[in-house]
Structure formats: C-alpha cells, structure tokens
Symmetry: C3
Subunit: 139 residues, 3 copies
Amino acid sequence: MWSQKEITLKPKSRGFHLITHEILQSVDELKNFNLGMMNIFIQHTSACLTINENADPTVRQDFENFFNKSIPENEPYYLHMDEGSDDLPAHFKSSILGNSLNIPVTNGRLNMGIWQGIYLGEHRNHAGSRRLVITIQGE
Amino acid sequence: MWSQKEITLKPKSRGFHLITHEILQSVDELKNFNLGMMNIFIQHTSACLTINENADPTVRQDFENFFNKSIPENEPYYLHMDEGSDDLPAHFKSSILGNSLNIPVTNGRLNMGIWQGIYLGEHRNHAGSRRLVITIQGE
Amino acid sequence: MWSQKEITLKPKSRGFHLITHEILQSVDELKNFNLGMMNIFIQHTSACLTINENADPTVRQDFENFFNKSIPENEPYYLHMDEGSDDLPAHFKSSILGNSLNIPVTNGRLNMGIWQGIYLGEHRNHAGSRRLVITIQGE
C-alpha cells in the first residue's frame, strides 16, 4: 500500500522550526497503515529536514546559532556568492543535516521517541514556501 | 513482505560503538528477504546511527575526539544547559550524523561493503539503554 | 514491485561530482514505476552521497574547500593514520554527509526539485571505482 503527496509549507523565518504537527495534519491517511515507513523529502537545497528535541524551544535557537557559527558566511575563499551571503552556507547546512527523513510507522502513527520532533531548518534569510514530497508505504 | 520490531541496546559508554553484530543477532528474519531494504531508526535525540569503517578501532576513537572538538561543550552562547553540558552537543551530533539508516538487503543479508559497519554514537556521559525500531521490507 | 542492481562508478578525482546523469542512465527500469522510492547506497566509507545544487559548478568547488577546511588532515590527535593523511578525514566526511539517499519516484522519474542534483563526494586523493547499490521499489 502506497500513498504519496506533495505539500507546501508556509514561508518561515531563518532558523529551525518544529513542523511535526504541520506534517501530521497533511497525512490523514497515515492512520490506515498498520506497519510501514514514511519518507519526507524536501525539494530544495538551502533548507533541511532533521529530527531532534521537541520540547525546549531554546534547542532550536541553539541549533541556529551553532550552525551559523560553524558554517560562516562570507569566507574569503567562497566562490558561489551571486545569490547572497546566506546562500552557500545554506547549501552546506542542507547537505550536512540532510534533505530527507525516514520514519517508521506503527499502528497508524509515526513511531518516534517521545522527545523527537521533525525540524525544518530554513537557512535563507528571505525564503519562499518550501515543497515536500511525503511518501508512505506499508500494510 | 514486512517485518518490524523494537529492540533495546544495552547502555554504552560515551563514544562510537560497532553494533553490526548486535543488530544482526536481533533480526533472524532477515534471511527470508531475497531483496529489500532495512531501516534502523533510533528513538533518541542525543545518540546517532552512522555507517563507517569496521576494522580499526582507532577510527571510532578518532570519531569521538573529532566530534568533541568540532562540537564543543559549554560555549558561552548556548542556552539549553539544564540537562548537563554534554546534552546540547549530543543533540547537534545526532542531527549531523543522523538518526536512521537505510541499508539494502540482498540474498538475505545486508548488502554493505566489506569495510562497512554500523556505529552507534553515544553522545551522553551517562546514558541509559537506547531503543531502535528496525523495519525490513522486501520480497 | 522491486528492482535492485549494483553499479560501478568510474574513478573520480578528489572533490564533489554531479552524478545524476550517470545514475539515471543505469536505471532504465525507473520509467516503469508510477510511484515509489529509490535508494542509492555507496558501499564505501571514504566517499559520500548527498543532494545539492546542480547548476553552478562553483558550488561543488566550495563544498570541497569548505569540508577540507572544517575537517582538516594531520591533526596531532588523530590515531588512524596508516592509510594516508586523507583517509581519516574521508571517513568523517562520509558520516557527516551520508552514505545513502532516498528519493521519491513519481510517474517514472525522480521527484527532486529542479535545482537538485546527486553528488558523489570523493574524499580520497587516489580512489578507485566506487560501487553503488540502487534499489527501487514502488508500484
């Protein structure tokens, strides 16, 4: 049994955002899967998807600060600068953190740990909406 | 054909551990899959799963040292400090290295390269046991 | 419906290479999948697979320079040095960037964004050919 859909996330500010609820609202059919796997794929190269702590909002703030510090803008050796100083670091962040998630499905629900949430990392200063492809398979 | 189970790894010391054998011991049904995919998902946000060199134990030691150096504890700008100085860096490591693996299955075996092994990265100083969800699908 | 094959990529120079075309040429059967998922798995621990910007070649050059700077060779505390100074950093890069991709399949095509391409990150100075396992499933 397969389900696949494309959804569009509303534009978000630069930073890490908890989108678990936004994802779940868009896949009502998840409840029909007794056992399976859900893949979430972002069709962009300057944003990321990752799973992390869903409770304390300062974790997301620390993520933004840590990755900005580790992956700085405007390094003198950067070549790809035409799309703004935030663009190339956004590409690095996207590849480091990843652009797709695979989450097991059990009894019609995502089988994550209780402290796990789905993050969208928006790495551009003025991004538009972001398109995701959500594929669920199972039985 | 689907198989899914939750297993618990015994508590491990901080560092990178080769768990290929521990995984394989828990999925006897793998031999029934002629062709497919295995997903291993860790239900925690302060440990990781990754695949790397399975032969020389100093590689795992170098992993621990490198990631501790690149992702330091106690940076003055960190906000999320309530759970100990090892907690926030553990969250970063988990998202950078990943919390799930997808490994092809061929003729009843994981079709990895001969030098590849499955690592658990335990990033907390005093972690408890870790829960994994292992999902195999195929034919 | 499942398809699985192993392919060998020609040896490549150290750096990031766009291999979307090389992948697609090897999976003619992709057109038979109306909806599904493709997994690409690299059987090596000193190269990586990632998805990023497919247009401007300076992005790949910046990737090579950025990861060489962030993950230096010959740090005094490194232990695993027997296989050359490029080997241990190659292992780190492989785990940070990842060794497998999952890409949704829609109407017989990879459903990536228009700016997304598949990168092979070759992290050794003098690598041989690289083996990939490509698994497609769907309906």
